[in-house]
């Protein structure tokens, strides 16, 4: 009888271990394939042309763009941010700042700095959003419009901006982020080269912590001096240079970051704009675009290009980072289950199989399997239920493959883009790419499992995102 029980336990433990290792193996295989695709895509891309050349080449045919900047309680930085956006190098753009019912004096600061006056501008009420209290224009510049509306959240504010803007393309950016001066010109390039098919383009988000920032511009690039943002630099490299580039190369890009993405207005309006109240409104929008374009049977491209850069501030404390990661996890789960009918649905082709398959393995099953593995695999081994082979395989999948993937992302960056200015930075980042697999990765997975739990409990809060302000970074 006891032998029978112990046999059952060993069998159950073995099956569970196979599930955990299988999930890890699937994730690692995806990452390695992404590296191959990303490497190929980067090698095929023309190297970065200088900004002056881009202007010379595309200046006359660049389409108009509206830069939509939702602002909620951004009084600290909003004026400097808007000044920096107005100084972007692009021939035909307008900046639409949407004050989303801020409780501080965001609007007042803008009114004073740009001598704003109320203005009537007819617009199409194509997307629903909270009521607009007023539109403002500035006698100082024709490029600036401010929309003052009741608070409704980021997606709601972006929808209001989409309604008010008149350009065929719009670019969304966070109010506290900094665009490189040539970012719009670079991001617009796919819309110039293939204007009929391109409907969305994402650029790179880089972490500005530690860099020298003056007058809303990143003047000198430095690595963060604190460990937590440093690890996030490696993470962002993996996310953007590896994952997004790889998926973009096979037109299966599922996410264009809400912190910096350019979209064709007509298609976004056709899918109903950003989904209000969504935890992952950027992921949600891109999935809707894929679904819409495939439903109507039109050829399209959603692209990621690494050259345009938007700088953002990364969380520096564990508590803020934990909230951010749990929220991202909830966003991924929410979108996965909302559009679950697309999973492995032949109607949606590679988006249904590869894109949704990726979300299933990496975002839905991945964190749970990995955290289970941290607890169960060593326990089973210590109890003598599993052989050391299993333990080694799990260790390899988590740690050594983790190191490989992170370092390879850095290799891609250095081999093709070389955006870190000093050799010393590369050495520091290589060390960070190794160390982050021992502790930081585990913490991240713990936060993601927490996000799972919050999702199951229906927790829809965004949590406070405390920022020190980019202007407060190293000067």
């Amino acid at each position: 009888m006891i032998a029978d029980w112990s046999h059952q336990i060993v069998l159950a433990a073995t099956i569970l271990s196979w599930f955990i290792i299988g999930a890890g193996l699937a994730q690692t295989t995806i990452y390695l394939l992404q590296l191959i695709f990303a490497g190929y895509a980067l090698s095929k891309r023309p190297p970065v042309a200088r900004s002056a050349l881009l202007w010379h080449r595309y200046g006359d045919v660049a389409p108009p763009i509206a830069l939509l900047v939702p602002a909620y309680n951004e009084a600290l930085n909003v004026v400097e941010s808007v000044h920096s956006m107005l100084a972007l190098e692009y021939p035909n753009f307008e900046v639409v700042v949407i004050n989303d019912g801020s409780k501080d004096d965001t609007l007042q600061r803008l009114i004073e700095a740009f001598k704003l006056t109320k203005f009537h501008r007819p617009y199409e009420e194509a997307l629903a959003h909270k009521p607009i209290r007023g539109l403002y224009s500035s006698p100082m510049t024709e490029r600036l419009f401010v929309v003052d509306k009741e608070n409704g959240g980021k997606a709601d504010a972006q929808n209001a901006g989409i309604n008010v803007c008149r350009a065929p393309l719009f670019c969304v950016i966070d109010g506290d982020s900094i665009l490189e001066p040539d970012a719009l010109m670079r991001a617009a390039q796919p819309f110039i080269d293939d204007p009929e098919r391109t409907i969305a383009v994402g650029g790179t988000i880089r972490i500005a912590n530690g860099s020298k920032i003056e007058a809303g511009r990143v003047r000198e690039i430095h690595l963060p001096r604190r460990l937590l943002p440093l690890f996030q630099v490696v993470e962002y490299l993996r996310a953007f240079l590896m994952a997004r580039l790889a998926w973009s190369s096979i037109n299966t890009l599922m996410l264009v970051s809400g912190a910096f993405g350019m979209f064709r207005r007509a298609e976004v309006v056709a899918v109903g704009g950003f989904t209000k109240g969504s935890m992952g409104e950027d992921l949600d929008l891109v999935i809707k675009l894929h679904r819409h374009m495939r439903d109507i049977g039109r050829k399209y491209r959603i692209q990621f290009i690494p050259e345009p850069v938007c700088w953002t501030e990364a969380p520096e404390t564990l508590s803020v980072l934990a909230r951010q990661r749990s929220r991202w996890q909830r966003g991924a789960l929410e979108c996965f289950f909302r559009y679950r009918s697309m999973l492995f649905n032949p109607r949606y082709g590679r988006v249904g199989f590869l894109g949704f398959g990726h979300i299933l393995i990496v975002d839905v099953l991945g964190p749970v399997a990995e955290v289970l593995g941290y607890i169960l695999i060593p326990a089973f081994w210590l109890l003598g239920i599993l052989s050391a082979e299993y333990l080694l395989a799990f260790t390899a999948l988590i740690f050594t493959y983790g190191v490989t993937v992170s370092v390879c992302s850095l290799i891609l960056e250095e081999a093709e883009l070389q955006r870190f200015p000093r050799a010393r930075d590369l050495a520091v980042l290589t060390a960070a790419a190794v160390i982050e697999n021992f502790g930081y990765r585990q913490l991240n997975n713990f936060w993601r499992v927490k996000g799972w739990w919050q999702y199951l409990r229906g927790n829809q809060g965004w949590g406070e995102m405390t920022r020190t302000g980019l202007g407060g970074a190293k000067k």
Partner: protein, 345 residues
């Protein structure tokens, strides 16, 4: 299971080794970049000095003393700032130093970005061999971006093959690029007929036809008004809309009739273009069809119609005010919004 472990160790060790190599490469590169920056500064100083003293021998000595890549890039940037005699002087010095030949080689052997840039530089340098190199790139280059850049450069040099041939060489995929608009806008007046022929080809890509019409409207002027009037009835909405926009610029005796028909077109882009053109030409006889468009299901059409009515002056404004004061409807709302546009009272 052992294989997973062993392969992971192998891959991570390999990746770390490659990274180490790249770090060492970067250290060496930092030294090279510093030297290149110094040489660039030296060349720019010599170029500035040349514009003052015209000492061609001193300039040539500096150009030949720096690496070709530095001379090509800094030289191109500098000549794009110059005009007239100064520019010609610098170009002669560059030719005597053999820079165009180096750029020609770059057009053959560089990466895609370098080849595109080389095509642009060859157009600026304008050597005798430039045309041959660019024609070869237009013929053989495997990147459509390079082929488009070569076509633009050839157009600037006055050596672009017949448009149909050039577009065939660019390829179908390249015929969706907005860079073609740039190419067409550079067309010399003497070759406008080629644009017209291509714009009227029913088998050509509608995007290219529309771009050709836009280019003709911007630079060709009234001479093509009849041509635009004919194309305004095209079956392709993209072509018809472009022709209507062009008519709005040139005008035509039959414009009121053409625009009135276009305002009933099934495509909203065509209706918008017709409304815009009516407003631009101030055709008050089209006030009635414009009023009908105020109830169009597409906001863009309604807004264009309202603006067109506004630009008709008093009669249009009166119509708008009547609509704004009528029962709540799409046209009433559009009319009141457009009448209110501008600074708040």
């Amino acid at each position: 299971m052992w294989m997973i472990w062993e392969l992971s160790i192998l891959l991570s060790a390999l990746s770390l080794l490659i990274m180490l190599f790249l770090i060492v490469r970067r250290v060496l590169q930092e030294h090279r970049d510093k030297a290149a920056a110094d040489q660039r500064r030296q060349l720019l100083t010599a170029l500035i000095a040349f514009t003052e003293n015209r000492d061609s021998e001193a300039l040539k000595a500096v150009v030949l003393g720096v690496p070709a890549s530095v001379a090509i890039n800094a030289g191109f940037e500098f000549i794009s700032l110059l005009r007239g005699e100064e520019r010609n002087g610098v170009l002669v010095a560059f030719h005597e130093c053999g820079l165009p030949a180096l750029v020609g080689r770059l057009l053959e052997r560089g990466n895609v970005a370098e080849r595109i840039h080389a095509a642009e530089m060859l157009a600026a340098l304008g050597s005798e061999d430039a045309t041959a190199s660019l024609l070869s790139a237009l013929d053989h280059d495997r990147s459509r971006d390079v082929r488009i850049a070569a076509a633009i450069a050839l157009c600037d040099l006055g050596s672009l093959p017949l448009l149909g041939i050039a577009l065939d060489k660019i390829g179908v995929a390249g015929q969706r690029s907005r860079r073609l608009i740039d190419l067409f806008r550079r067309f010399p007046r003497s070759r406008f007929n080629e644009l017209a022929v291509h714009a009227s080809r029913a088998d050509a890509v509608p995007f290219v036809r529309a771009a050709a019409i836009d280019a003709l409207a911007r630079t060709g002027g009234f001479g093509f008004a009849d041509f635009f009037a004919g194309l305004a009835r095209s079956d392709s909405p993209e072509v018809a809309a472009a022709a209507l926009r062009a008519l709005g610029l040139t005008g035509h005796g039959a414009a009121p009739a053409i625009l009135a028909v276009a305002m009933t077109n099934a495509d909203w882009d065509v209706r918008t273009a017709a409304a815009d053109a009516a407003g631009r030409l101030g055709l008050s006889e089209l006030a009635a069809p414009l009023s009908m468009l105020m109830d169009d299901e597409f906001w863009t059409v309604r807004y264009a119609a309202a603006n067109a009515l506004r630009s008709l002056g008093n009669p249009g404004e009166r119509l708008l005010r009547e609509m704004a004061g009528s029962e709540v409807s799409r046209s009433q709302r559009t009319a009141s919004l457009v009448l209110a546009e501008g600074p708040a009272a």
